[in-house]
């Protein structure tokens, strides 16, 4: 009989004790919520969902929660709600049986078991879905090049409004509206940053003065300077000076292997 098996288990307190290596497993695997944790506890005891011993599970569940809290795991509120549900079921089980039967529709144990069964079905299904042969893991698409044809493949075109809509979506998603009001000035700086990087990639080591195009006028020079400062701040370029008051040179960040002193900014 069930009871005898369970009774036997009860006689061995070691089984109820969670051994340290098991704790390690818990800490390394994150549970997908309270139902996942409950299923784990039930499976560990080779129990059927239908015959779970709520009292036993409740204590283990609460023990795990305390453990997780003591390890500063961020616990979702759902875990605590489940703890309360389990406690409720346990307290109901202490009531005389006649009273509990009266409201079997509302029996939280029935509800929990149904929920566990439902979750287990999908958990099992998701494990099977994960094993389906999948592109880029088990199957790879075939890349075949084309010989030259007179009619080149028409490339899709993109309209400005599509690009804007896409960027709008990005901003909406990451709540960047507040700190990313993009102004024209900022954009011209970003553009100059890109072109400075490109110039330095080509020439590697350039005189500070050569990077300014005087024909651009005052605004152009200011933009170049701002872009340079931004690049220095992001550690993308370095300003180096061989001696005090000597000519300043600019190089890409990290390529400074000369003994020149770096300009502190």
């Amino acid at each position: 009989m069930d009871i005898r098996v369970e009774g036997k288990e009860y006689e061995i307190p070691v089984d109820l004790y969670i051994p340290p290596h098991a704790l390690q497993v818990i800490l390394e695997t994150t549970f997908e919520g309270p139902l996942d944790l409950l299923l784990y506890l039930i499976r560990r005891h080779n129990l059927d969902i239908l015959s779970i011993d709520v009292a036993k599970i409740t204590y283990q569940y609460i023990a795990y929660i305390e453990l997780m809290e003591s390890n500063r795991f961020e616990l979702a509120g759902e875990y605590l709600v489940m703890a309360a549900t389990l406690a409720e079921i346990k307290s109901r089980s202490l009531l005389p049986s006649t009273q509990a039967i009266d409201e079997d529709e509302e029996d939280p144990r029935v509800r929990l078991i149904k929920q566990l069964q439902e979750y287990e079905r999908f958990k099992n299904a998701s494990e099977r879905v994960a094993e389906l042969p999948r592109m880029e893991r088990d199957n790879f698409s075939v890349n075949m090049s084309m010989p030259d044809v007179k009619q080149a493949r028409p490339r899709p075109t993109v309209q400005m409004d599509e690009l804007l809509a896409a960027y709008g979506d990005v901003l909406k998603r990451c709540d960047m509206y507040e700190h990313h009001t993009i102004s024209r000035e900022r954009l011209s700086t970003r553009e100059r940053m890109s072109s400075l990087m490109a110039q330095l990639q080509e020439h590697q080591f350039m005189s500070f003065h050569d990077l300014f195009n005087l024909s651009e006028g005052r605004m152009g020079i200011v933009v170049t300077f701002l872009a340079m400062m931004e690049l220095v701040k992001e550690k993308l370029i370095k300003l180096v000076q061989a001696q005090e008051f000597g000519p300043i040179h600019v190089s890409l960040g990290g390529q400074n292997d000369s003994p020149n002193q770096e300009l502190a900014l």
Binding site: Y10, L67, M82, R109, F122, A130, F140
Partner: protein, 200 residues
């Protein structure tokens, strides 16, 4: 009238970066090419057989036919690339499976099955990969979006249709007897102490 249809179909399917349906393939031909869907289907079936023992195969997935590298050679291909294939989290796979089996479904309904919140980033990742999409709104307060899987989802998992998904477990039936409160075991005070002690 085209006499050699098979190599034309091979060229079309190999050059395309997406699966092509029989209908889509058919659109390529003019009336005087004498090619109908039946002829295309027949040619495709013959082609499929002709790749036995090769490193690639022609498969039919939800949105049509595509060439792919034979599964048995995936490990060799992986050696060629340093980039590891993206792994999907358990949370993503659970959410995706629930949508696949229960579609159309709202986020709230997914959450009540999983017993835990579904993060927006998981939903976005799946929409971004075109695996799921919003197919409307449920007429309940808040009008939540209803999600469903797409053909791209089926394509990615090498499925032709939803019913090719692995079967869901049967729900174990249970009777009143099992649930009779009388059977609930009374907790024993002694045990409780053991557990509590051993944890702390």
């Amino acid at each position: 009238m085209i006499t050699e249809l098979a190599p034309v179909l091979e060229a079309l399917l190999l050059a395309s970066d997406k699966p092509l349906s029989v209908e889509r393939l058919g659109q390529v031909f003019d009336e005087h090419d004498g090619v109908d869907n039946k002829r295309i289907k027949k040619a495709l079936r013959e082609l499929q057989k002709s790749y036995d023992g090769r490193g690639y195969q022609l498969v039919e997935v939800a949105s049509g036919f595509r060439f792919q590298v034979q599964q048995g050679y995936a490990l060799w291909v992986a050696r060629l690339w340093q980039e590891k294939p993206q792994k999907y989290s358990k949370a993503l796979l659970e959410t995706l499976s629930i949508i696949a089996y229960q579609q159309p479904i709202t986020r709230g309904e997914i959450e009540s099955i999983r017993g835990v919140g579904v993060s927006s980033s998981i939903i976005h990742t799946m929409i971004d990969r075109s695996w799921i999409r919003s197919v409307g709104h449920k007429e309940v307060p808040g009008r939540p979006e209803l999600f469903a899987t797409t053909k791209e989802f089926l394509d990615h998992f090498n499925l032709k249709q939803l019913s090719d998904l692995p079967a869901l477990d049967e729900l174990a039936s249970w009777n009143e007897a099992t649930m009779a409160p009388a059977k609930l075991k009374q907790p024993q005070q002694q045990e409780i102490d053991v557990v509590t002690e051993s944890i702390h």
